[in-house]
């Protein structure tokens, strides 16, 4: 392994470690959580409700839909008509900073 390659591997390791540590710091700074769910569709705010507002929310985007559910276990997308259903596979999120994304519908659901 040449010197350049060793430097490359070390750099990758360092950047990776820095990213993970940075993410942990970011999460720890999230002490002040407004406990709200923010839904952005196509970059614009679509819906913003407190985490306590349990219920089913239907989000429509250009003929497609995602069904958002907020309950005691957290926030999840129960059903959608996007190909791949990545948003449903993510499951339930419950902590501040976590998010569910549906790329084909340009949908981002975040817990603030």
């Amino acid at each position: 392994m040449s010197k350049k390659e060793i430097i490359f591997l070390l750099a990758v390791l360092l950047i990776g470690a820095a990213l993970f540590i940075g993410m942990n710091i970011y999460k720890k700074n999230q002490i002040v959580s407004t406990e709200e769910v923010l839904v952005t569709s196509d970059g614009k705010e679509y819906l913003k409700v407190p985490l306590s507002h349990y219920g089913i929310y239907r989000i429509i985007y250009k003929g497609g839909y995602n069904i958002l559910s907020i309950d005691s276990s957290g926030v999840s997308v129960k059903e959608a008509d996007c190909p791949g259903l990545d948003c449903v596979k993510v499951g339930t999120i419950h902590s501040s900073g976590e998010s569910i994304v549906c790329l084909p519908h340009k949908l981002v659901i975040t817990i603030l």
């Binding site: 350049k4 390659e5 993410m23 190909p83 596979k89 998010s99 790329l103 340009k106 949908l107 975040t110």
Partner: protein, 177 residues
């Protein structure tokens, strides 16, 4: 010298590129079938990049690797994806290709490391595109995971590329005789 170089762009070369493009597309199909079942949605293994690596490391010219890579991105997105997927794939490919070019031609790293660099760049670029398109900086929390996935995927495809490269060189020489 230019006379010799012109002779090298033979009809046979085109056949080889066509075959490699088909191989890359089949890799893309395999990914489209296998990937949705992997734990984290949106994570792919990057198998078509193996073709890009092989072309990059055996050809003296740069354009075959780039053109085959760009075409496979377009065709895979058209056949097994949608316009949104193309946006992410194309952007990811272009940036990761430029990076791999840099790491190989300028820094002279071997295939495994070039592949790792390509994987990291591809995933990171896709995340940046997603942040831009969805106007949501919150997505950057996925960066550590995508970075690691890029390293692993790049490592795996790099290893496969190394295994294939010896036989591929033989094939390439035979084609250009």
């Amino acid at each position: 010298m230019k006379e010799q170089e012109k002779k090298r762009i033979t009809f046979k070369s085109w056949i080889l590129y066509g075959m490699l493009l088909s191989v890359a597309i089949v890799f893309g199909y395999v990914e489209a079938v296998v990937s949705p079942t992997i734990i984290i949605p949106g994570i792919k293994i990057g198998l078509p990049n193996i073709v890009t690596l092989l072309l990059l490391f055996t050809e003296k010219r740069i354009w075959p690797a780039f053109t085959v890579g760009l075409l496979r991105t377009i065709i895979i997105s058209a056949l097994f994806g949608n316009l949104a997927m193309f946006m992410y794939s194309a952007g990811g490919f272009v940036i990761s290709f430029c990076g791999m070019l840099l790491f190989y031609k300028l820094l002279h790293l071997r295939m495994l490391f070039v592949s790792i660099a390509g994987g990291i760049l591809h995933n990171t670029t896709q995340l940046c595109i997603a942040v831009l398109v969805l106007s949501s900086k919150a997505l950057f929390v996925e960066l550590p995971v995508l970075f690691a996935a890029g390293v692993i995927a790049g490592g795996l495809t790099g290893i496969v590329g190394i295994i294939l490269s010896k036989n591929f060189k033989t094939l390439y020489i035979r084609f250009n005789e």
